[in-house]
Symmetry: C2
Subunit: 306 residues, 2 copies
């Protein structure tokens, strides 16, 4: 049985368009309506044939929907919620795919009428690409989807969990605030650091930008992938998960300063001890199926030149 | 014509064993002798059949060699140089593959007799794996190899350049001190930061290590690859390129603190401007053939679970 018969997705970027493709691939019986704030994106989604109906207005797309999923940047959620609140069907479930959960839960609770069930969600999946052409149906396959509803035992929560499982995801329940602390470490801080180092490297006087690009295979290029992620989405993540990000960033800076000190004082033992310890984490991530076991991420052995 | 008829490689880790395989693949006429400080590694290299002769002592391996390449951690170079100095043939060329060049150039100049030509080198290539089984013949294909001889116009320099070009590498000449500044940015700082963040993430109280592993697909897993690199090799890099690393680390910390401030004061424009700028660098790296154009590094779409 389908968890939902009528699904609406608002926002047709990488995640929203992947979700549309996944729903069509795994639940072809679903009536799928989508919408996007950009007329160009709506047009492209029509050309790609990603949904049964592409609506120019989000409010039109949610009428009669049993499950509405917001796939817009976290900072745009409140605006969309205000637009659709009056048209949500009684008993409908509102959810999302945002990378921050406490602020989204608050915005949903403030905007939605009491006859709507709120089940915020976050599939931990993505690539560095953006837009409706970047999506693909298997994006959520084998990945975790974290749900952060206030009532974990509700029928609505069970339905949303079943929905993600049909798309191949593994579902985990978490308190919104805890989600935000976990993702601050596993996603937000890594992105901030990657953006920062790529900025630093392109602004030096003693080393040219063309040298940085040329010799990037020494490690730098690994950071540039996530530093190519969507700027608006990530701006909103940092603005909406400020406290947790600042906390873990403070911790990171403290540890980095300790390493700086170890280098200055030529304390090789401290360096070697840390470098040995970090190997084990990579092994665990591979054993858990959360990354490829292929060396160099499975990049082609010639470095990938086209 | 072969650049060298008799080649010796000391150190049979990832780079040394890749070099041995590449020499055998691209220059089968070369007489290849190798050596390693570990008897187990020597034994394994014999089993793998990577060279014409595997010598237990490096001094034995260099007798009659026209080209000797040191592929040991930077901190082990001086010891090996002392062992082989008395047995280097007149007119022989000594080179290496170390990630730091000024300290290696100094050590070579101090240790080698005047009848030996000194051409330090650094192929900017590698994976997170270590040891003789991790090597492969195409590692240097399409990658840059930086040479830092004092005399860039010498016959010995031309021969070493020809040697690397035969293995598929592109050769660049650079002053040793400048090499160390460039690599501090493109390789050493990224490794230091990756080691540091992986350490930070595994030591938090509010987020468990198993949560970090489980939800690492949000970005963190990208950092764990290079944080799985050889601990001793990397310890030696930081001890031997201290000044350049500390300088660029200071610059990075400054930029990161500015970002921290932008988050604290909710300055979304500053964040978005940086995040937009960094996208262009990734594009340039791909256009230059220094990384794969495939999304997510070409990882399998299911995340790579075996």
């Amino acid at each position: 049985m389908l968890p939902f018969q009528r699904v609406t997705i608002i926002g047709m970027g990488l995640i929203g368009s992947s979700l549309a493709r996944a729903v069509k691939a795994q639940m072809p019986g679903v009536l799928l309506r989508v919408s996007d704030g950009s007329p160009d994106v709506c047009e492209r989604v029509r050309e790609l044939g990603l949904a049964d109906e592409v609506c120019d207005q989000p409010a039109t797309a949610v009428i009669d929907a049993e499950h509405v999923v917001l796939a817009v940047p976290v900072g745009a959620m409140a605006g969309v919620l205000a637009e659709i609140a009056g048209d949500m069907a009684p008993g409908a479930v509102i959810s999302d795919v945002g990378s921050v959960k406490e602020s989204v839960l608050k915005a949903m609770t403030a905007a939605m009428p009491s006859h709507v069930h709120i089940v915020p969600g976050h599939p931990v999946a993505g690539t560095e690409r953006s837009g409706p052409d970047a999506g693909f149906a298997s994006l959520f396959d084998g990945r975790w989807c974290i749900l952060t509803p206030e009532d974990v035992g509700s029928a609505a929560t069970a339905q949303v969990a079943a929905f993600w499982e049909r798309l191949g995801a593994k579902v985990e329940m978490m308190e919104a605030a805890h989600h935000d602390r976990v993702l601050a470490v596993t996603s937000h801080l890594p992105h901030l650091i990657a953006y920062s180092i790529v900025g630093t490297a392109s602004d030096l006087e003693s080393v040219t930008r063309s040298e940085v690009i040329k010799f990037s295979a020494g490690g730098f290029r690994d950071f540039t992938r996530i530093a190519a992620s969507d700027p608006v989405m990530w701006r909103d993540v940092f603005l909406n998960n400020k406290d947790a990000v600042l906390e873990v960033l403070g911790r990171f800076t403290e540890d980095l300063v300790a390493l700086q000190r170890a280098i200055r004082w030529e304390d090789g033992d401290t360096l070697e001890a840390l470098f040995t310890r970090t190997r084990a984490i990579r092994r665990s991530i591979i054993d858990e199926g959360q990354d490829t076991d292929a060396e160099d991420f499975g990049r082609p052995h010639d470095g990938g030149a086209a």
